[in-house]
């Protein structure tokens, strides 16, 4: 869009909306942009308020009494939140790497025109796009048959592959990687595994980055898998912790004994409302600072999806 308006010449000057209209459009977009961003700023403001001021006068757009006690509490009390942060990071990293490998390998295989089982595997990838077993049978298979309940793999494996991503990958390999590269490597005696890992992966970084980003944000933002499969609070991710805190804010006092105070004293003294919002901020900050830089890749992925179904 930017490139277009810079490139257009004098003709474009005659082809503009009027000044008044322009101001009106700007006002509409400023309003919408604020509606999208302000709610997060409200959360920031609450997390920087003093607990007493919230108990007395409620939440506010701007802190009535500024305080960092919520963050102080998080640092001092640490373990529960740090652990959840660790689980979130671990799940995101392992899940993204695993997901990219599984997706790209299948995409590469499907992109080979002469592969014998190609049509069979195409059906394997296609059928789940149309029909799925639904929540109930997936739940029982994952929890009872595969024994994923209360393991970290329950947060990773079910989200690792999506047929949609496999097809994006396949289309990319088919359209941008010349057959000659694969053929000449085959003539040189390279195995398919070697071709995939040392030739295809390095030259496919754009599509791998796009899929990696989708997976990365997906894992970081996931709370549903935790809600289904995780009862052990030691395996809570940040999202699961926040989800739990929304209904039971005292859960933060779980590790009271390790701080040398009794559970009851900690529950009575800790900043509850503000600490809850501070956890939300821990979730949002990495995302909010990362996405503007990666927006380009997202847009690439989304538009491929919409146009190439």
């Amino acid at each position: 869009m930017a490139a277009k308006s810079e490139a257009t010449s004098g003709l474009d000057r005659y082809n503009r909306i009027g000044k008044g209209m322009n101001v009106l459009f700007h006002l509409v977009f400023i309003l919408l942009a604020l509606v999208c961003v302000v709610p997060i700023l409200v959360i920031v403001s609450i997390s920087f308020s003093s607990e007493d001021s919230i108990r007395e006068t409620g939440y506010h757009m701007f802190p009535t009494v500024f305080s960092v006690e919520a963050y102080g509490f998080i640092i001092q009390q640490g373990t529960v939140i740090l652990r959840a942060f660790g689980v979130s990071v671990l799940v995101t990293v392992i899940g993204t790497v695993l997901g990219v490998l599984l997706t790209a390998s299948m995409g590469y295989v499907l992109a080979q025109p002469n592969y014998k089982l190609k049509s069979f595997l195409t059906w394997v990838v296609f059928i789940p796009m149309v029909f799925n077993g639904g929540l109930v049978s997936s739940y029982f298979i994952n929890a009872n048959l595969l024994g994923l309940k209360d393991t970290i793999w329950a947060l990773i494996l079910p989200l690792a592959v999506s047929s949609f991503n496999v097809i994006i990958c396949k289309t990319f390999f088919r359209s941008t990687i010349p057959d000659g590269i694969v053929e000449s490597a085959e003539i040189d005696g390279a195995s398919q595994l070697r071709i995939f890992f040392s030739i295809i992966m390095p030259i496919s970084l754009p599509v791998l980055a796009t899929i990696g980003l989708f997976l990365c944000f997906g894992y970081w933002n996931d709370w549903f898998q935790s809600m289904l499969y995780i009862n052990n609070q030691d395996l809570y991710s940040l999202q699961a912790l926040l989800n739990n805190l929304m209904s039971n804010v005292d859960a933060l006092a779980r590790n009271a004994s390790s701080m040398g105070v009794s559970y009851a004293t900690l529950v009575a003294s800790m900043p509850k409302e503000t600490a809850r919002m501070a956890v939300a901020i821990l979730i949002v900050v990495p995302v909010a600072f990362a996405y503007p830089f990666f927006q380009r890749y997202f847009i690439a992925g989304l538009t491929v999806g919409s146009i190439k179904g």
């Binding site: 700007h26 919408l32 961003v37």
Partner: protein
């Protein structure tokens, strides 16, 4: 004898085929475990299934119950309310999900200052990257009965506080608003990409012929966007039996007073699963899977008639 013939007719199984099969093996196993096993698991909808012990022995040993689970499901009033909500909300979401982003995409391309446009677009993309748990915390800050910002504003204007999480009449508007709010950045990206892709010579020719901006939009931009709009519409219709679980479960905080306006198929299935009424849950999930399959295939069939390049198969 016959086997011999086939071998000669078709190309031999090469070393590459073995290697490619090895490469595809982990993902194939993943598909079998996480997609195909659950597909066969749907038979529990036709069984009197009890959760105890191993899954497989349970499936084989529990008695067949025919359509009994479905009878229970459709005899309850909940099923009809749920289906009404699922389809009703989705129809509104589909219409607004096209109307609003298309309008905004048309507008943002017309701003004199395109750098400002980029900033607005980035800001409006933020909600797309937030999880529903975080959004639920945000809504709580506004709608909480005793601490919420909404009630403080009402009090300042001299009005009574409203117990938002107990009053169903407001929630259809809230839910529709939240859906638009979260999806607006995504929709704009898709439609803007289409607008940017239109060859600028069309507009140059139109300007020379004296076409106004409105005429250019009406006769060039919109017709060029028609295909993408139709595709997005049909794909959304194909998913009309599925809803965003987070929107309908996390945002209303699972409040029972709001049951009639916030329960969709996904919420119903989850709640019944958690309360261990597996029979009804599996029946509802089966209905969703089958109806979803039919609508997706139907949508795909229409897509293929319009533009075979864009169809899934």
């Amino acid at each position: 004898m016959k086997k011999e013939e086939r071998k000669h007719r078709r190309p031999r199984w090469r070393k590459q085929d073995t290697e490619l099969t090895l490469l595809a093996l982990p993902t194939t196993i993943w598909y079998i475990l996480f997609c195909f096993l659950p597909m066969f698991g749907v038979i529990i909808a036709f069984k009197d299934f009890k959760i105890s012990g191993g899954f497989l022995s349970n499936v084989f040993n529990s008695p067949w119950s025919g359509w009994k689970n479905f009878e229970f499901l459709f005899k309850s009033n909940d099923a009809w309310i749920t289906i009404r909500n699922t389809l009703g909300y989705n129809i509104i979401f589909i219409l607004l999900g096209i109307l609003i982003p298309v309008t905004l995409a048309l507008m943002i391309g017309r701003l004199h200052n395109s750098r400002a446009g980029k900033v607005y677009q980035t800001m409006m993309f933020l909600p797309y990257f937030l999880s529903w748990v975080v959004v639920s915390a945000v809504i709580w800050a506004f709608l909480s009965f005793d601490k919420g910002i909404a009630n403080q504003m009402l009090n300042q204007m001299g009005a009574e506080s409203v117990n938002w999480y107990m009053e169903p009449q407001y929630w259809p508007y809230f839910l529709i608003f939240m859906n638009v709010w979260k999806g607006i950045g995504y929709g704009m990206v898709v439609y803007l990409a289409t607008i940017t892709g239109i060859d600028s010579t069309y507009y140059e020719a139109a300007v020379i012929d004296g076409a106004s901006i409105w005429q250019q939009t009406r006769y060039i931009t919109l017709p060029m966007m028609k295909l993408v709009i139709v595709m997005m519409f049909i794909l959304a219709v194909g998913r009309i039996f599925y809803t965003d679980f987070g929107l309908f479960y996390q945002v209303p905080r699972d409040s029972n007073s709001l049951f009639n306006v916030t329960t969709t198929l996904d919420v119903l299935v989850y709640k019944q699963l958690k309360t261990a009424t597996v029979g009804m849950a599996s029946a509802a999930a089966f209905v969703q899977s089958v109806m979803g399959c039919i609508t997706i295939l139907f949508a795909n069939w229409i897509v293929r008639r319009i533009d075979s390049e864009s169809a899934m198969m």
